[in-house]
């Protein structure tokens, strides 16, 4: 039970907080609130651990547990005053239950594989869970995680996932492998639920289960889910931020705009890639949420977005200015004499990108004469080929003015990532792209499919 308590408390805190934020909103289903709220709750509890580190210079277990329980008590009391429970069972509830069961079924293979890879992948035990152990067990010496001796663990990376894992151990005496394993599995479930119910809320369609089923059975998705990497968490908060921005616009809701700012802030505390993504999305959300005919100071959605961002980005700002060391795995190839950039680096990048996205097509043509077994697709399962073909027919809808938020973000983010690969000559480009590109794509895949489906299916 001690393993599961933190997750129960976080989910409740998140759900109750979301209920307060969205109290004026109608028509938001309970399940959507649960999947969105749980993510909010987990981040809130993780930030209470961060508060403990700042206030006491160590992980103060009694403080963290007491504060979380107190918060839960206060939120429960506030919500009970305004709670109106309406119990009814309709056909849509049966469908929703069926969808939850389908998601559960599709996650069984993830659980089976996670049950073998209990310590996750390389970056789990050399970066994220390693930092969590230092924070949990290190006492006042927890800041050794920023030591240059631990350069392989990327000391400059933000701490959301390690803090979440520490919270997962709060009721335990040791840093058990079960904490991070449960954390990753639960977030895979939350991502799946948010994806489906978010799309359902925006498009009124249950067909979102088809792209979700495809995504959950994709080899690379499964591997990334049980590897306990931060990319999964970045994927969740990207979907959460995108969904809440769209909802703010659709409902003309200051509450959703506030929530989107908070989600962007949480996204910025996942990884450095999350920080860049959050900044780009925040910048693009402003013109998207702008109401025509109103002056800048009268733009209530933009104001709420910024209030939310001010709250959400605070841990990132504190971490960046007070704790984060310089990135020692960076050489600016534009100015370096020992590791300069070159045209070859660009050529290699183009080849590596092509291999990453289109190697199944090449393999497919090579293997046509031989057995059908060779037609089983590789990493991305011919997905990008499908996307190109579908885009040819649906491009006017996909790139319509009101759907341009995500493609604009993707363009900016893609340019930035490519530019960073180009100028940071610390790593050999072939190795670096081969171990990181698929994870960057994985983190944006759910929100990519979300945009694709939403743009084609949304009610006009």
């Amino acid at each position: 039970m001690s393993h599961y308590l933190p997750f129960i408390i976080s989910s409740l805190i998140g759900l109750l907080s979301l209920n307060l934020i969205l109290k004026k909103e109608t028509g938001v289903s309970f399940l959507l609130k649960l999947f969105l709220g749980a993510g909010l709750g987990f981040a809130l509890c993780a930030n209470i651990v961060f508060l403990s580190l700042m206030a006491f210079h160590r992980f103060n277990k009694p403080f963290v547990i007491t504060t979380n329980l107190l918060l839960l008590l206060i939120l429960t009391a506030i919500n009970l005053r305004t709670l109106r429970i309406k119990l009814s069972f309709e056909k849509k509830h049966l469908i929703d239950t069926g969808m939850i069961l389908t998601i559960g079924l599709l996650l069984i293979p993830v659980w089976q594989q996670a049950g073998y890879y209990i310590y996750g992948g390389w970056d789990a035990w050399s970066v994220w869970n390693l930092k969590a152990k230092f924070i949990f067990l290190g006492g006042h010496s927890w800041e050794r995680i920023f030591s240059p001796l631990l350069w392989r663990s990327s000391p400059h990376y933000p701490l959301l996932l390690p803090l979440m894992n520490v919270w997962g151990w709060a009721f335990l005496k040791e840093a058990s492998f079960l904490g991070p394993l449960l954390n990753s599995f639960i977030f895979t479930f939350l991502l799946s639920g948010l994806f489906f119910f978010g799309l359902k809320d925006l498009t009124k369609s249950n067909l979102g289960i088809i792209p979700l089923s495809f995504m959950l059975t994709l080899h690379i998705f499964q591997a990334s889910a049980y590897s306990q990497y931060c990319d999964l968490f970045m994927a969740y908060y990207l979907v959460a931020a995108y969904f809440t921005i769209l909802s703010a616009k659709k409902r003309n809701s200051a509450q959703f705009a506030l929530l989107s700012g908070i989600m962007l802030g949480i996204l910025s505390f996942t990884k450095n890639e999350g920080l860049i993504a959050a900044i780009f999305l925040l910048a693009l959300a402003m013109p998207f949420l702008r109401t025509n005919g109103k002056k800048l100071l009268e733009q209530s959605l933009i104001k709420s977005l910024f209030y939310g961002a001010a709250i959400g980005f605070t841990p990132t700002i504190i971490f960046s200015f007070i704790y984060a060391p310089k990135n020692i795995t960076f050489i600016n190839g534009l100015f370096s004499l020992t590791n300069p950039v070159s045209l070859t680096r660009i050529q290699n990048l183009v080849s590596l990108y092509s291999i990453e996205f289109f190697s199944p097509v090449v393999s497919l043509f090579r293997s046509l004469p031989s057995a059908a077994g060779n037609l089983i697709p590789g990493k991305w399962s011919l997905f990008w080929v499908v996307i190109i073909v579908v885009t040819l027919f649906g491009w006017k809808r996909l790139f319509r003015k009101d759907n341009l938020l995500y493609p604009s973000f993707l363009l900016l983010y893609g340019i930035f990532v490519t530019f960073y690969y180009f100028i940071n000559t610390y790593f050999e480009i072939g190795w670096w792209v081969s171990v990181t590109l698929y994870r960057i794509i994985f983190s944006i895949l759910p929100v990519f499919i979300f945009w694709f489906f939403y743009s084609l299916w949304k009610e006009d």
Binding site: Y119, R144, F214, G394
Partner: protein, 149 residues
């Protein structure tokens, strides 16, 4: 505007239909690949029930006195080999929050984990360290009483 919508609709319908049908087919192919993967995991589980990255260094965890912040980790190489990097990463994870100082022989406690055990012993003799523990895989923990930490 009316004409534009009429031209768009069939292509959007086709885009939606082709998207769904393609994903259903790819979902089917994914399931085939997934079942092969799960069957591999099932076979591996018969040999070992779960991945264990701490078994090599677990017995060292409670060995060091309180206040030990840094220890040396010597691999007889400059850790370019991925297997050696993995070993050190496993050691670091197992022994956290102690920090492993790569190839630094100036600490009181040093773990020797060379590819050839004889290389470890040669170096231990050279620095006049006292071996205190040897594991089944040839990892050796030594103490240098002349060093503070």
């Amino acid at each position: 505007m009316q004409k534009e919508i009429k031209i768009n609709r069939p292509s959007v319908k086709f885009a939606k239909l082709s998207f769904l049908i393609s994903l259903i087919i790819l979902f089917g192919l994914n399931l085939i690949a997934l079942s092969a993967q799960l069957s591999t995991i099932k076979k591996i589980k018969k040999i070992s029930p779960a991945q264990d990255i701490e078994y090599k260094f677990a017995k060292l965890r409670n060995f060091f006195p309180a206040g030990t912040d840094y220890i040396g980790y010597y691999s007889c190489s400059n850790l370019k080999n991925p297997e050696e990097v993995k070993n050190m990463a496993h050691a670091q994870f197992s022994l956290a929050p102690i920090v492993l100082d790569e190839n630094n022989l100036g600490h009181k406690y040093i773990i020797f984990n060379c590819a050839k055990e004889s290389d470890s012993w040669e170096k231990i003799k050279e620095i006049k360290a006292i071996p205190v523990l040897r594991s089944e895989i040839g990892m050796i923990l030594v103490i240098r009483p002349d060093k503070k930490q």
